[in-house]
Symmetry: C2
Subunit: 245 residues, 2 copies
Amino acid sequence: MKIDPDSSVDLSIQIASAIRDAIIDGTLPVDERLPSEQELCEHFSVSRSSVREALKRLGAQSLIRTQRGATGGAFVNRLTYAAAHGQQITTSTLLLSMNEVSFSTACEARYALESACARLAAQRRTADHVATMRAEAYKQAQPGLTDEAFCASDVAFHRALVDAADNDVMSYQLAGAVEAMQPLMNMITFSARSRERIVALHNDIATALDDQDADKICELLNELSSYTNSLAESVFAERDALRGQ
Amino acid sequence: MKIDPDSSVDLSIQIASAIRDAIIDGTLPVDERLPSEQELCEHFSVSRSSVREALKRLGAQSLIRTQRGATGGAFVNRLTYAAAHGQQITTSTLLLSMNEVSFSTACEARYALESACARLAAQRRTADHVATMRAEAYKQAQPGLTDEAFCASDVAFHRALVDAADNDVMSYQLAGAVEAMQPLMNMITFSARSRERIVALHNDIATALDDQDADKICELLNELSSYTNSLAESVFAERDALRGQ
DNA sequence: AGACAATTAAATGTCTGACAAATGAAAATT
DNA sequence: AATTTTCATTTGTCAGACATTTAATTGTCT
């Protein structure tokens, strides 16, 4: 890919694109070392600043990593599920917060996607998954738990359900959806009574998973979805009422 | 957020994080102009290069845009569904290509997630969605269509099904999953007979959607999933056989 | 006064050169 | 042989300069 210094497009963008394309089409395989910054300067006929800015762009997308020292340089990163996952969460979180996505829309999406895992999870669940879910439900029942800790445990619970489906691609997709919702969930204050209700549903879900009863899980997820939604609605209604004063 | 020049973490990373956090927590609202590079240098007590590299990182994540000129500068970007979607596809595509994700795993995830839309889509579908799907199915039946065009139309078909669920968050999530699979799908050569079978299933799905029969849609999606999988398996088996010669 | 042209100021984009810091390899020393 | 020292390479950071873009300002003419 060639660089056009007269283009209206920034050099660092052009250079980053060229290298990115080489990575995507396999010209630069995983763990391959890129030419040094000096060599890239000569190759593209640009200054080191432009090359460096291009490399930072690629670094921000986890496409490369850099290492200092004699044998250092920039290396093509193997994109891990964890890294991709982290990026997806950042993106999804921002998307939700910047676009005034309604709670009900996000909630609906989350539980609908989660139900998709239910069938597979019911088939493939191991004792470990069920145990994790029960442990989280137990934690959620502890008095004195902060709302944030409650939400974090909620994420862990659902994460275990998703992982039970034993499909890496699905875990990656779903975990992003579930975790991106957490800032929205954190806006809810959970009363002792509402927590009790949620924990009960969680325990029922764990049991249904143990029994490999997919339909039951879906039914319970639906219930959880509408309950969460109604909780959110009352919180928002209260907030709006206070604002109206 | 403070910057530590003695940290082992690169300055541009620290600066980018600080600004990113300010965007995420709302301190820097959408379309707000960031301080000029010069001002950021003074604020963080670093050189302009470091500030610029940090801004490039944020730019690569679509968090900011920059404009030259008198009233120019860096502005907080409103993250659109389209931009988020594009990033997700790049990430997912790389993830799938770099991690030797098996076709069956990706395929399973895709159809499972798509089934999650089916119920909502059945409730909310409009005549437009059904018409789009029928039009794509018709296109797919044309002889002389390249495999690539066939796959592209396939994506458009499923995209319409997802959009019928009328949930932006879900469309965003699902479209990413469906489109990221396209490079994998493109590896399959579709014979006339297999196309015929797929088009028939597509038409049946369109009909089931029109009839608002969610169960039927799920059943047909499952059928499509196993058929696609068997096609892929035979392609891979043939390829491996050739390789073994 | 209004329309148009030239100037100016502010901002990002690019280049150059320098030094700091990390790091592994080679050389020197014990 | 083991350890230490030196050294070359590479990325990270800094400073300053100039180019380019852009909108506001100023000046000029009708």
